[in-house]
């Protein structure tokens, strides 16, 4: 059991340091902090110009959604880069527990996603006048943690696909942009066609963003427990699907001898 936790934590951190391309400050600051900051300003100003929703609607939506910068891209890199860097073969030849190897990679990604979201919320408060009550902050933090976990689990699934697919960055980019459209980040789900709303409800972020908006407006954690539990359920479903796909693709890649082929 001790070995399992060691693989989970130490392996996860080492893999993150080795495989996350944007870890250097020269890459990290512009990409993981600069881009979310300007995304926040862009959509808040666009909403103001379109006279659609309130300012806080866009600040909360985008501050939560930008965790996908870490969760989707970070998690995709942390899994799929094994093949790109030629280390997938040795990794899969090791007897390490696959669940520990796979799920452990999510821990640094989760921490980074929380940091990116917290930074963007801070920027919203500093630059755009976002003022949630101080009493709402613990509940808001709890909602953000669950939502980032859910988004990280979604990233695990995408990363697993990257074990086999040639252009995994295409899928990661596409997923990031589609989240802006489907997850109620900038458009209320009620304004979208029914099928888009239904797709959005199956994705991470959607319920978390809705809960975060209610909490920022003064609701307690108890009031939004349904939304938070749904988001947590979505996280578990995506993590399980990601792990299952990882195992299937590992077996198939061994069988067809395409482990390091791309």
């Amino acid at each position: 059991m001790r070995r399992w936790w060691s693989t989970f934590f130490v392996g996860g951190v080492i893999a993150y340091r080795g495989l996350f391309n944007w870890i250097r400050p020269a890459m990290y600051i512009p990409t993981m902090l600069g881009s979310p900051l300007f995304q926040l300003i862009f959509f808040t100003k666009l909403g103001q110009y379109a006279q659609a929703e309130s300012r806080d609607f866009y600040i909360v939506g985008n501050s939560v959604q930008v965790c996908a910068m870490s969760s989707v891209y970070g998690m995709t890199m942390a899994v799929a880069n094994e093949r790109w860097f030629g280390t997938l073969g040795p990794l899969l030849a090791s007897p390490a527990n696959r669940a520990a190897v796979f799920l452990g990679r999510g821990v640094p990604v989760l921490a980074n996603g929380i940091l990116v979201s917290a930074f963007t919320f801070g920027a919203g408060a500093l630059l755009l006048g976002f003022r949630p009550g101080l009493g709402t902050l613990p509940a808001l933090a709890a909602v953000v943690v669950v939502t980032v976990a859910s988004c990280t689990a979604f990233g695990m699934l995408l990363g697993s696909i990257g074990l086999r697919a040639k252009d995994f960055f295409f899928a990661a980019n596409l997923a990031y942009f589609l989240m802006l459209l489907f997850c109620g980040v900038n458009i209320p789900l009620a304004d979208l066609p029914g099928w888009m709303g239904a797709v959005g409800r199956c994705l991470p972020l959607t319920h978390g963003i809705a809960a975060a908006r209610e909490v920022a407006a003064g609701a307690t954690l108890g009031h939004v427990s349904g939304l938070v539990l749904t988001e947590a359920g979505i996280a578990l479903a995506y993590a399980a699907a990601g792990l299952l796909l990882f195992r299937i693709l590992e077996r198939e890649s061994r069988r067809s001898a395409v482990l390091d082929a791309y």
């Binding site: 944007w22 250097r24 020269a26 890459m27 600051i29 512009p30 990409t31 600069g34 881009s35 300007f38 995304q39 300003i41 862009f42 100003k45 666009l46 909403g47 103001q48 110009y49 379109a50 006279q51 659609a52 929703e53 252009d167 960055f169 295409f170 980019n173 596409l174 942009f177 589609l178 802006l180 459209l181 900038n186 458009i187 209320p188 304004d191 979208l192």
Partner: protein, 256 residues
């Protein structure tokens, strides 16, 4: 004649390379369509009426900028990874001339974005494509695209020196969308941002396109976008020479 041949063959080569890149397909068609859809829904649910063509043009121009930006950073970074950057530097023509056709091809690919958002807007959202000055629109479009390509050339010159070009590309996408007022008026931005907007070709480019489509003076913004394009050529020839010299002196040309 030789310069024209370099421009033509470089333009063709880069166009072929971009045509096989799924990332460029995403940046030049899928991403603008997603942003256009978000903007359509936001405008539709908001208090502003008659702004869907405005949104389609803006989202298309956002795609033109993204393609230019990622293309400019990507072409230097990609050549660095492939080990061909030094060959470009060592060749007899100036580096700016070597990369000019690449930048123009990037911006040309960006035109797919405008076409995609206008067609998407018409088919899915019923956006009326009635342009007030259609001929001026056809004049303003290539002028804007070429000018953006030339601005991309200036950016590309900095990427010769700066190893993390893709980080700069990631950073500069939204700020230029914001400062150029591509999809909302710059009047809602703080006053100190105006001078920044005035030196950006996309600011004048979207004004020229918007006025040609929706009504308003086209010649003034058109002259400004062409003037900034010419200024970009001059600046890029100097910056390419300077940054090339610096990267050779510091021996950082091939460092990834």
């Amino acid at each position: 004649m030789s310069a024209l041949r370099i421009v033509w063959s470089g333009f063709r080569t880069n166009l072929k390379m971009l045509g096989t890149s799924s990332f460029f397909l995403l940046t030049s068609t899928v991403q603008p369509v997603i942003f256009a859809t978000v903007a359509f829904y936001m405008f539709r649910s908001g208090g502003r009426s008659g702004t869907l063509l405005y949104a389609a043009l803006g989202a298309g121009m956002m795609g033109v900028w993204s393609t230019t930006l990622f293309g400019s950073g990507g072409m230097i970074q990609w050549q660095r990874w492939q080990g061909t950057l030094e060959i470009g530097v060592a060749s007899p023509p100036s580096l700016a001339l070597v990369y000019l056709p690449f930048s123009l091809a990037n911006a040309f690919t960006g035109m797919y974005a405008l076409a995609a958002t206008l067609v998407w807007g018409r088919l899915v959202f019923g956006v009326p494509l009635h342009f007030v000055h259609p001929w001026l629109f056809l004049l303003a479009l290539p002028a804007t695209v070429v000018s953006l390509g030339l601005m991309g050339l200036v950016l590309a010159s900095t990427f010769v020196l700066y190893r993390y070009a893709n980080a700069m590309s990631n950073l500069l996408e939204y700020p230029v969308w914001i400062a150029s007022g591509l999809i909302f008026s710059t009047s809602i931005l703080p006053g100190w941002t105006r001078p920044v907007s005035w030196v950006l070709p996309p600011y004048w480019g979207i004004l020229a396109l918007r006025h040609a489509a929706l009504g308003g003076g086209v010649w003034g913004p058109l002259a400004a976008v062409l003037g900034l394009g010419l200024a970009s050529i001059v600046v890029s020839f100097f910056t390419f020479r300077w940054f090339e010299h610096l990267s050779r002196a510091r021996a950082t040309l091939a460092l990834t």
